[in-house]
Symmetry: C2
Subunit: 412 residues, 2 copies
């Protein structure tokens, strides 16, 4: 039986993990709205008052009783008495009766009695205190009504929304200067391998510097998590178990990037099995790169074993760690991941039954983009750094032909 | 003559501004590589040593002299003497001669004399110290050669690259723990208007809270800038001039979000004209929203006047402020902006000759996405918050028909 029939597809593996995790570990915190970009609302936000809080003009002109303008035109103008000018930033001290009007600027508050604005360009002051009206306006024309944007107590930002510039603006408009968000998801990063050393150390022959803790940390920060470094442990069951247990108690997600040898992968799986129930859920995933990935859940928290190869670790970080962080943050996953359409430059064969993720470089050619696969062993970090994004080759395909248009998901 | 013939298109307006700015104001700084994600390299980064720094195995198996395996197969195996096991994280203390081999794990350093690895699954230890080889390997098979990823002194990250997870991993692999990047671009935010108050204050009738400083700050931070708040100034030429001059001296870009009335826009343009040469370059742009946008350059630094309406200010922030920050950061602008393909739900008319940017909401429908325009006056911040992205209607089009597939650029 081909191996891919015994391994779960990435989507199925991820869903299996999601079913076992406990979202009750997730807690919220209050942050200043001004620095809340990228955070996710923990509760719905309601408007404490309507917006606009008063009827406003959207143009420069004269505030009028609309009825007074009916039937006027350039050839048959009407005339109104100017009773005042609306100050910016204050309520007008006067009201307007039929036959009267007031000069008003964009954003100014409508005087009591008025219900529309005639734009300045359709008026002419004929003598001090009197203006000629050359166009009719309908009730409500050129104004924002009280509550036209939001009404009092309206739900303005639902729970589970990632806050963007527009949401921050909305909060400010309502005077909401702090907001309750989900605390950043804490992700423990454990690197294992007798050959692995900290990046600041100069390697002896046979030693390599830790890469995966740092590529994953960047990915985690961007996704809304807080990476917490637990350092490098030796290929020792007891040592890996002790530090993993501590990490599990102190964080929301534990990631072990293990060496790539079979014995080390088995060691990682063995440790995950001892940390809590149900333990290892998926050992091996039907994807390339990333077949050796291990997904586990221990007492409600996800514990993931990623391959030691930098390319596999990072690609599987996109496939499993980012969606997990988004799940814990409670993001309403309504929006598709943006991508770039590009034309594949070469035939890209793949094994039917297995989902492949291929790094590609984007090349501008006339008015379109070409996607050129970046080939290289998955140990080569700079090979990955030369790629702009990933393309997915579906499990039911045996490849993609040169000339086909593909979706390139940018890596960042 | 229709007005759009006298106004510059957004691309032309932006280019005119770019031609006058002085990039010598931009300076660099050194930051830790671990927290350099999103920053832009100020100089090219070169490899201090080759990577891998020693020949490594990519599999679990036996390190051999490839020649010794030629002609072997499952039915006609060869036999080699095992001289040792390569330790992880250290150079092997032995060398291998023809007729010999050594047990090696993934990532282990090749013993002197070997040039290929036979995978464990094609071997069988027949007696202590002797292994049966069931498959031939070519010279170089299953190994990473010294310098296969990068060679010594190779340019590994060019100047002007926005650092991603993969670049951080590459820096770590080379032991480069700090990196020279362009300092965040400092962007002054000045809000003007007698009616505008700070968000924490409860508005009196006629007053509105400052929104634009905060939406733009979020946009600026995300693009790689550092927003610096200069507060709210009254509609006074002298006051606006004084604070703008101070901001111009202290920052790299000055943004004034002015009230929307014609007199206030003229005031902003008047102030920009006094700050330095050449002053106002563009007064009015052929786009919707954003016609009143003012672009100026004063003694080499950009000074931008954005409309006071929150939707116009934010959309024009995407069109002019973000590209300006990227220009000052010196980003090699090779990569297209990612987007989402969606089907427009309704006919969207537009004025020929003017470039429109329409906020839309994305709606999942079966296996595709629908783009539903969000209509609303450009003063309504929550109308914008309900949109997921923007679509562009080209100046030469008179609209987009329902059913057409459009590119939606997500707002964030």
């Amino acid at each position: 039986m081909p191996e891919f029939l015994t391994l779960l597809a990435p989507d199925d593996a991820r869903n299996l993990m999601f079913e076992s995790i406990n979202l009750h570990h997730v807690i919220s915190q209050t942050v200043e709205a001004v620095s809340a970009a990228g955070r996710v609302t923990a509760v719905g936000v309601y408007a404490p008052h309507p917006l606009p809080a008063f009827p406003r003009s959207t143009v420069d002109g004269f505030a009028v009783v609309a009825r007074d303008t009916f039937g006027t035109s350039e050839s048959m103008p009407g005339y109104l008495n100017i009773v005042g000018e609306v100050p910016m930033g204050a309520a007008p001290s006067f009201s307007v009766q039929t036959g009267q009007c007031a000069l008003i600027h964009t954003g100014g508050m409508l005087p009591a009695g008025t219900d529309a604005i005639v734009m300045l360009e359709y008026t002419q002051v004929v003598r001090p205190g009197e203006v000629e009206i050359q166009r009719a306006v309908a009730n409500g024309e050129n104004i924002l009504r009280l509550g036209e944007d939001v009404t009092e107590n309206q739900l303005v930002i639902p729970k589970g929304v990632r806050i963007r510039a527009a949401e921050i603006g909305g909060l400010m408009a309502l005077g909401i200067t702090s907001v309750q968000v989900i605390r950043r998801v804490r992700v423990a990063l454990i690197s294992s391998g007798d050959e692995v050393i900290e990046p600041h150390i100069f390697p002896q022959p046979g030693q390599v510097r830790d890469i995966n803790s740092y590529t994953l940390a960047a990915l985690i920060s961007k996704a809304g998590g807080e990476p917490i470094f637990y350092g490098i442990v030796h290929d020792s069951f007891e040592e890996l178990k002790d530090i993993s247990m501590r990490a599990l108690n102190e964080t929301d997600i534990v990631i072990i990037t293990a060496g790539s040898s079979a014995s080390i992968r088995d060691l990682t799986a063995g440790v995950i099995a001892t940390l809590g129930k149900p333990g290892v859920l998926v050992h091996g995933i039907n994807t390339k790169p990333g077949k050796p990935t291990i997904l586990g859940v221990c007492d409600g928290k996800a514990v993931i074993g990623l391959p030691g190869n930098p390319v596999s670790a990072l690609v599987n970080g996109y496939l499993f760690v980012v969606p997990l962080i988004e799940k814990l943050l409670g993001i309403i996953d309504r929006i598709p991941k943006p991508s770039v359409k590009a034309t594949l430059t070469v035939n890209l064969p793949s094994q039917t039954g297995r989902e492949d993720w291929q790094p590609v470089k984007l090349i501008a050619k006339e008015s379109r983009w070409l996607a050129e696969p970046v080939f290289g062993k998955s140990n080569l970090i700079f090979t990955l750094a030369s790629a702009d994004g990933l393309i997915k080759i579906h499990a039911d395909a045996n490849g993609i032909s040169a000339g086909e248009v593909v979706d390139v998901y940018l890596m960042d």
